[in-house]
């Protein structure tokens, strides 16, 4: 059995649209939109930063929902588990980009790479949590055991994040250290800037969908390979052997 590609007409359309809109976002973000009156050119980082953060959260919500279904009907199908895993992988990637673009923007705007602000701290813990989730998924084990354990971890993350966020908010509010920096970094957006930002969100959502669809198909194939791979290898060796005998 050979599978040439995990692409289908649908994914090709999604991919092409993603490329097209990303191209527009790049052009608009760098050349067409104006610089911000306060932040100057550093505001352009926002066109990548906000969509990556949005996708990361979308991905983790997808993982949680898919894991919920996976636990609820765990003896029937692994489909939900594969979607959960694929979505978490993409989520970790985008959250890393969020943290990197965010700290670059922070360096330019606040003068520091990192602030122990509740939102930032929670995001960092969320990132580490899903890195751990992916580490569990990488272990070479029975796909059903992988499904049950990783979905429990994903569901616990849903419990963990509000607790982390709440305790960090309480922690920071009690300390009240020099908060001269406005961590909101509000910018006034004109129509074109808002449209570019919106296009960024659409482009990244399409990229997310494209990556998750391909990734979960790939997981299906590699799970399948575990099952049929051994049999296929034995048949191939036998064929070689009999060919050798007859020659």
């Amino acid at each position: 059995m050979t599978v040439g590609s995990t692409g289908t007409p649908t994914t090709r359309v999604i991919g092409a649209l993603a490329l097209l809109i990303t191209g527009w976002v790049v052009v608009s973000a760098f050349f067409i939109t104006p610089a911000d009156s306060v932040q100057g050119d550093s505001v352009r980082i926002m066109y990548a930063h906000v969509p990556t953060a949005w996708i990361a959260y979308l991905a983790f919500v997808t993982t949680a929902i898919a894991s919920g279904f996976s636990v609820a009907r765990r003896h029937r199908t692994l489909g939900f588990d594969r979607v959960a895993g694929a979505s978490a992988e993409v989520g970790v990637l985008f959250m890393a980009m969020t943290l990197i673009t965010g700290s670059l923007w922070g360096r330019l705007t606040w003068g520091t790479f990192w602030q122990w602000d509740p939102r930032l701290t929670t995001t960092l813990f969320l990132f580490v949590t899903y890195v751990g989730y992916l580490a569990v998924r990488r272990i070479d084990t029975d796909p059903r055991q992988r499904a049950s354990r990783s979905s429990v971890i994903a569901l616990l993350a849903v419990l963990e994040i509000p607790l982390v966020h709440f305790s960090v908010v309480l922690w920071r509010s009690l300390h009240q250290e020099a908060s001269v920096l406005n961590t909101d970094g509000d910018v006034r957006l004109d129509g074109l800037m808002l449209f570019t930002l919106f296009s960024g969100v659409v482009a990244f959502t399409l990229i997310f969908a494209w990556l998750v669809i391909h990734r979960q198909r790939l997981t299906t194939l590699s799970d399948l390979e575990r099952v049929v791979g051994l049999d296929a290898a034995i048949i191939a060796r036998r064929a070689e052997n009999s060919a050798g005998v007859s020659a």
Binding site: V71, I139, D142, L170
Partner: protein, 226 residues
């Protein structure tokens, strides 16, 4: 209830006979406190950080105790027989958590004493009540999260490094709350007694949330082993 106590007694008896906690974990935790002191190299800084360092040492030591608690179950598939003895896997969860709680409570007592002796932390009057409450509630949270994540990684290859990676981010709220409340009990300048008690509230909520989540998750986690 009987099952819970029986499972806890079994674990504690194994611990008593092998003395892993006494021979390895307690010395390790004390070593961590000593190394923190060497690394920070300032008595004023140490006194300021004492509460946080005690709970950091607790977190690290919890990882070791949890590994041990599940290694005794998985080495010869003892978990399967244990689960066969009761209709509710959640009772095994609470039993193991109870045993972990008792062991960690003993460790916490040693570490708080060490903070008083080594770091010069002091506890007076009604602050003792706060300190005891913090230690009990935070240890409860550590025991439930520890048991839950111990079950998640049980039987997995590379579980020694997976357990801290998975459990420590989850324990972050506990570390924040327990450190702040202990700071208040140590009579720190930065946080008053009332705020200390507010953090105890967080610790109680935390222990309840993970106590119930752990009991619910224990069944799907252990089922796949058989």
């Amino acid at each position: 209830m009987n099952t819970i106590v029986a499972v806890a007694k079994k674990d504690l008896r194994i611990e008593w006979r092998t003395r892993t906690l006494l021979a390895r974990v307690v010395p390790f935790a004390l070593l961590v406190l000593v190394l923190f002191a060497v690394a920070l190299d300032s008595e004023a800084l140490l006194l300021r950080a004492a509460a946080g360092l005690v709970w950091m040492a607790m977190l690290f030591s919890t990882m070791l105790v949890v590994q041990r608690a599940f290694d005794i179950e998985t080495s010869d598939a003892a978990m399967d027989s244990l689960l066969a003895c009761t209709a509710h896997p959640s009772r095994v969860f609470y039993g193991k958590a109870l045993s972990l709680f008792v062991q960690l409570l003993a460790l916490a007592a040693v570490l708080v004493t060490a903070a008083v002796v080594l770091y010069g932390a002091s506890v007076h009057g009604n602050r003792v009540v706060l300190l005891v409450t913090v230690v009990v509630t935070a240890t409860g949270g550590l025991a439930t999260v520890g048991t839950l994540y111990g079950a998640v990684v049980a039987n997995m290859t590379g579980r020694d490094s997976l357990l801290p990676l998975l459990a420590l981010p989850v324990l972050a709220p506990l570390l924040i709350a327990a450190s702040r409340a202990t700071e208040a009990a140590f009579g720190s300048q930065t946080i008053d007694l009332a705020n200390g008690w507010a953090w105890v509230g967080v610790l109680v909520v935390y222990a309840i949330v993970f106590g119930s989540a752990g009991a619910a998750a224990f069944s799907p986690l252990t089922e796949s082993d058989s």
